[in-house]
């Protein structure tokens, strides 16, 4: 059987999961640096316990560790998320449209920042990382139904804030 202690297996786990762990923590923190540190620390824990963790369990192990690390860091910090923008690359739109889009994105950013952490994380893992509800449920350690609830509430809250209702 593959062993997490083998460097190849470990590197593979790192490459396939570190980006999502990074995003996951970033959505919660809104702090790139801290998210980066959490990724490093979570994988250090995995490396230290490589004998006890099977490759199949390694992924959820890393998420659990990352989540615990997040909980240990001061959560009171104000979340300030900024999202890189793909749509800027193509701009053969009218200036008015671009202005409108820009405005909308600003509103979306603000709305996201004011969301409860768990709703924001669920929403962004789905929208940005394309994670299925079941995957998010596994990462967060809750039921799929709970994730659907968070997603529903997130959509409702974002819409009402953006539309100013």
């Amino acid at each position: 059987m593959d062993n997490v202690c083998e460097e190849e297996v470990f590197s593979h786990l790192f490459k396939t999961n570190s980006k999502t762990v990074f995003n996951y923590i970033y959505y919660k923190f809104g702090n790139e640096e801290k998210a980066y540190d959490v990724v490093q620390e979570a994988f250090v824990k995995l490396w230290e316990n490589c004998k006890k963790v099977s490759p199949e369990k390694a992924k959820s192990y890393v998420y659990t560790v990352a989540n615990n690390l997040y909980l240990n860091v001061i959560k009171a910090e104000k979340v300030r998320l900024k999202y890189a923008d793909r749509s800027n690359i193509t701009s053969n739109e009218t200036p008015e449209f671009l202005m409108e889009e820009q405005e909308y994105k600003q509103k979306l950013d603000n709305a996201l920042n004011s969301l409860p952490e768990n709703q924001r994380t669920t929403f962004l893992l789905n929208r940005i990382d394309g994670k299925k509800y079941a995957e998010i449920a596994e990462m967060e350690g809750v039921s799929v139904k709970a994730i659907e609830k968070r997603m529903h509430l997130a959509l409702k809250a974002l819409r009402s804030q953006i539309d100013g209702i």
């Binding site: 490093q40 979306l108 609830k149 959509l155």
Partner: protein, 304 residues
């Protein structure tokens, strides 16, 4: 609308009816826009390769530590295993029986825990348990030995061919391939051969060769002749005599045109080989040639 319909809609889990109703609602356009725009969001750049390199660099020290530590652990494990093996084998060996053996042209004297004496002739071996000696005086013998047994409990000599039991006496036991002889020099010895027990008084021998049992009187010596460095035979097939010659001098004996089953009566010296060769060859009407450790006996009349 069902519970969490917005999540269901995003996951394409709404029924056609529900979807139609939702699409007709005022809010639908807002949600569609929200989904479209949020779909173009991106998380900050994350360079996986750089992160992995960082990881390896900062944890390389830990890595080497692990490597450095583990051989020590292994060493300790090996050391512990060796210690266990030593202790166990010591305990095992200490329960094993004592054993004394002699090679060709070699003799040995053994004093047993009760001061009984055993003198081992050449190419012989005794085994006994020192621990259980107080409970049971028992010796396993291969070859030939003279016993001076101290008075006490039953003393048993076990050989492949028969059992010799005494209380306290002096006797000789010889057990070679196809040959079993017990001679009593003092007291009374009981010999068990083929489940038949024979009482052997002093001055008597119990001899078995080739399955034939012979009981006969022996010269009134107090010790077997081999202890005076002479091997004595009375009507014994020649091949046993030659075997004994090999054992006493550590030589190789070969024969040519010689009847090995002819009976030999006489003795040979255990200290002078030339004399011994003559002692054997003359009465058997043989000649001999000696080259180093090899001796060839051949019939007097045979052409060479």
């Amino acid at each position: 609308m069902q519970e969490n319909y917005l999540a269901k809609w995003l996951n394409n889990d709404l029924s056609e009816e529900e979807l139609a109703v939702f699409k007709n609602s005022d809010e639908y356009a807002s949600y569609e826009k929200l989904i479209k725009v949020s779909g173009s969001l991106e998380a900050p750049d994350f360079d996986v390769d750089k992160a992995l390199d960082d990881f390896k660099n900062t944890n390389l020290t830990k890595d080497t530590k692990v490597i450095r530590m583990s051989p020590m652990k292994k060493l300790w494990r090996i050391a512990a295993a060796i210690a266990v093996i030593f202790v166990v084998s010591y305990l095992y060996v200490s329960t094993l029986d004592e054993s004394v053996s002699t090679q060709y042209a070699e003799r040995s004297e053994v004093i047993l825990p009760d001061n009984s004496e055993i003198i081992l002739n050449a190419d012989s071996r005794i085994t006994y348990s020192e621990k259980n000696w107080d409970k049971e005086r028992k010796i396993a013998l291969e070859g030939e030995a003279f016993f001076k047994v101290a008075k006490g409990q039953k003393f048993t000599v076990a050989t492949a061919d028969g059992l010799v039991t005494v209380l306290g006496t002096q006797f000789n036991v010889e057990n070679r391939k196809g040959f079993f002889e017990v001679t009593c020099y003092e007291g009374l010895v009981s010999v068990t051969y083929n489940d038949k027990t024979t009482k052997l008084p002093a001055g008597n021998s119990f001899i078995v060769f080739n399955g034939n049992v012979v009981e006969r009187e022996t010269p009134a010596n107090t010790t077997p002749s081999w202890m005076s460095f002479e091997s004595t035979f009375k009507s014994i097939p020649l091949n046993y005599v030659l075997d004994e010659l090999e054992r006493q001098y550590d030589i190789e004996v070969e024969t040519q045109n010689v009847k090995l089953d002819q009976l030999f009566t006489g003795s040979f010296s255990n200290t002078n080989l030339n004399l011994a060769l003559q002692s054997i060859s003359t009465p058997s009407q043989m000649k001999f040639k000696q080259e180093g450790n090899n001796v060839l006996f051949y019939a007097e009349n045979a052409p060479q």
